[in-house]
């Protein structure tokens, strides 16, 4: 399942959905708000386009790495330092595929999904990645 949501991420729930009797490995990735001298982040999405891109990335990962399940949840809205921004859960028969699939999804997400982050701090605000 792919979800773009303002709600908190439940990793337990994602793991529950990705479990299966044929899976011998599950890999999870959590991207969190790092304290780069700021108070938090605002995350913005082009929701429909991001959903479609993440669905495509998920399909690619499923077939390339023979995954049994792949779950991706990306948050939007205001996030404090330490909170989760994105969670990915991949299950596969063996750990190698599960690690590779999870890695593929986060790397492609960062390259292709229309999502943006704005750092919010006492000194002001700044869009990440903008020159």
């Amino acid at each position: 399942m792919i979800e773009i949501t303002e709600a908190e991420i439940s990793l337990d729930e994602m793991i529950r959905r990705a479990r299966s009797k044929d899976a011998g490995a599950m890999v999870t990735f959590l991207g969190t708000v790092r304290d780069d001298g700021m108070e938090g982040l605002e995350v913005e999405a082009f929701r429909e386009a991001a959903q479609a891109e993440l669905e495509a990335i998920r399909e690619e990962a499923m077939s390339r790495f023979h995954l049994m399940a792949a779950e991706v949840v990306h948050r939007t809205g205001s996030l404090a330092v330490g909170e989760s921004i994105v969670a990915i859960v991949c299950s596969a028969a063996h750990r190698e595929e599960a690690f590779s699939g999870c890695r593929y999804i986060i790397e492609e997400l960062k390259k292709r999904a229309p999502l943006w982050k704005k750092e919010m701090g006492e000194k002001g605000e700044r869009w990440v990645g903008r020159t």
Binding site: A49, P114, L115, W116, W127
Partner: protein, 89 residues
């Protein structure tokens, strides 16, 4: 329909409908937006009037290449999205 995200949303607003002359191109639409909004002009175009390389575009949710596709003609009902480099995850 024009959609703008992140820094460009702050300048242009999230979405707006624009009436275009028949045969108008992506470049003409961007120039029309720049003419109406000096902040957008400054953010999106350099001094020589070229689109800055951090301006990313989608037409109908498919990325277009600003180097090759600015002369693309827009049809009624098309959706142009304008945004800066992606920064998810």
């Amino acid at each position: 329909m024009v959609l703008a995200f992140a820094g460009f949303r702050e300048i242009l607003g999230k979405e707006r409908e624009l009436r275009l002359l028949e045969g108008a191109t992506v470049k003409e639409l961007l120039e029309e937006l720049a003419l109406a909004n000096p902040r957008f002009k400054e953010a999106a175009f350099d001094e020589s009037g070229e689109l800055r390389d951090y301006v990313l575009l989608m037409v109908n949710r498919k990325r277009i290449d600003p180097l090759q596709d600015l002369s693309r003609t827009l049809q009624e009902g098309d959706e142009l999205a304008i945004f800066p480099p992606l920064a998810g995850g």
